[in-house]
Amino acid sequence: MTLTAVNSTKNSESMQNQELFVYNTKNLNLWYGDHHALKNINLGIKEKDVTAIIGPSGCGKSTYIKTLNRMIDLVPGVKTNGTIEYRERDIFSKNFLVEELRTRVGMVFQKPNPFPKSIYENIAFGLKIHGIKNKQIINETVEKSLRGAALWDEVKDRLHEPAYGLSGGQQQRLCIARCLALEPDVILMDEPTSALDPVSTLKVEELIQELKEKYSIIIVTHNMQQAARISDKTAFFLNGEVVEFDATDTIFNSPADSRTDDYISGRFG
């Protein structure tokens, strides 16, 4: 395998032997103080896949997704060992600035969290912190991002009104648009629909289907039907361990591990 092949474009099909991972987690352990929250995680997450992470409360799925863009750093007293490679670069390395990582990897949170600013300013925020001041570029990006998040038609006439005036589902799509403005490579979603009603949930799910054309998506979800509907691959977490990671069809139809079977058939969790 030559270097040029490794660096070749995303759509290259010359990579039959070496799978192209956006994220490769190797022997990751994480502790909150004395609590061993993630145990020896090994996961290779493929580009342009929708990867769902499922598991009961407290299984470490949220912790894991927050580690992927190092939001976990904000929690005091967290220790990790092992590595997570993002496109073959160790995210814990000193040479990989956390600001760069979070620019390349967007995140959508459990509760919609737009800034108390206008819809327009919410999208422009990301550009402004990265030093983009050109009005025209910002205007175009705002429109493009809102279109990308299937929100443009609903808000185009009130871009300068407060984002808090939007419904919960619209706010969450605004948060997705805010991510898209930075042209991320990966989008992490931490239970993005858990605070939404069924109709808004459906819209976000449809949006995820569209987004997977361009982005790699990793989604933590409580809702197993959701994982089955939208994901290509599913990882089942239990007590801080990955019990099973496979194609979503396999996980839901013929899981290899009996615990996975118990969980998806609703016997616990």
Binding site: P76, F109, N113, P116, I129, L182
Partner: protein
């Protein structure tokens, strides 16, 4: 057997009258407390206004201190207070908000931080005379500012600093974590998050708390006496190292004169002081409403 332990709804309904009675009594106690406070306030205001209002005239604002009550005015004190506040507000705001940001956003939550935190809270309760003594030692003597605007302004800034810090910390702590996460999640640095997310959200709280603290600096007398601010002043300061007098000093001086006319002048001075305080509190309310409108 179970019937003996089961609660009886008839019995409970029978108690409703007693509970409602208690409800009424409690409400009455709170109402009395409020009425008591209001009445005292009204009496106080009535006395001061009826005593001082006749003395409020254009001349009162225009004249300096005088031995003759009919010629005495409050000009030096009003202007002096403004000079002093022009030192107090920026000094206390910059130091106070800076400290609050550091403690809330940067400092590790360890024993040292908690110790500093506890001392700041305690400082808020230290008598103002003690701050006067500190100001006398450091600003008047060591730095050689004399009994100037700068010495008094710095002393008052120190006096209100703990309140500004605590109020700002509370405002900063009230910023929802989700908003900070949103900012960090987009690759913002800590300073960008503070500047663009934390401060805009916290400013109404910071401003309200700080302005109430600044009002205290306008009304305090003790530190000014200790720092050696004169009371009989017939000139305006032309620089920060000049001597001056302030509103509470002037009022204090007039009340300690034997002549009744001077007591009435003091009442007029108090009306002015109250006016300034109301003005500042209005600014606090205005800032809060303005920022919350978004």
């Amino acid at each position: 057997m179970e019937n003996t332990t089961r609660v009886k709804s008839e019995e409970m309904i029978g108690r409703i009258d007693g509970r409602l009675m208690k409800n009424k009594v409690i409400k009455g106690i709170f109402l009395t407390a409020t009425a008591f406070t209001s009445i005292i306030l009204i009496v106080l205001l009535y006395r001061i206004i009826s005593q001082g209002a006749p003395y409020l005239s254009w001349d009162f604002f225009q004249n300096f201190a005088s031995r003759r009550p009919e010629q005495a005015g409050i000009k030096a004190a009003v202007i002096g207070t403004l000079w002093m506040m022009s030192v107090v507000i920026p000094t206390a705001a910059i130091l106070g908000v800076g400290t609050a940001i550091y403690l809330e956003e940067y400092a590790k939550k360890n024993a040292l931080t908690r110790w500093i935190q506890m001392n700041i809270s305690n400082l808020a309760g230290v008598p103002s005379v003690v701050f006067g003594l500190l100001g006398l030692t450091i600003f008047v003597r060591v730095f050689g500012f004399g009994n100037s605007v700068l010495a008094a302004g710095f002393t008052m800034a120190l006096l209100v600093l703990p309140v500004v810090i605590v109020a700002s910390q509370e405002a900063i702590r009230a910023v929802p974590n989700e908003l900070k996460e949103a900012s960090f999640g987009l690759g913002a640095t800590k300073w960008q998050t503070i500047y663009r997310v934390v401060l805009p959200y916290a400013i109404p709280g910071i401003a309200t708390g700080s302005i109430l603290a600044f009002s205290r600096a306008i009304g305090e007398t003790a530190p000014l006496i200790v720092v050696g601010i004169p009371t009989f002043v017939a000139f305006l300061p032309s620089g920060y190292l000049d001597s001056f007098t302030a509103l509470p000093m002037q009022i204090y001086n007039w009340t300690s004169r034997p002549q009744v006319d001077f007591h009435n002048l003091a009442a007029a001075g108090i009306i002015i002081l109250l006016g300034v305080l109301i003005l500042m509190n209005s600014v606090a309310v205005w800032i809060r409403n303005r920022y919350q409108a978004r």
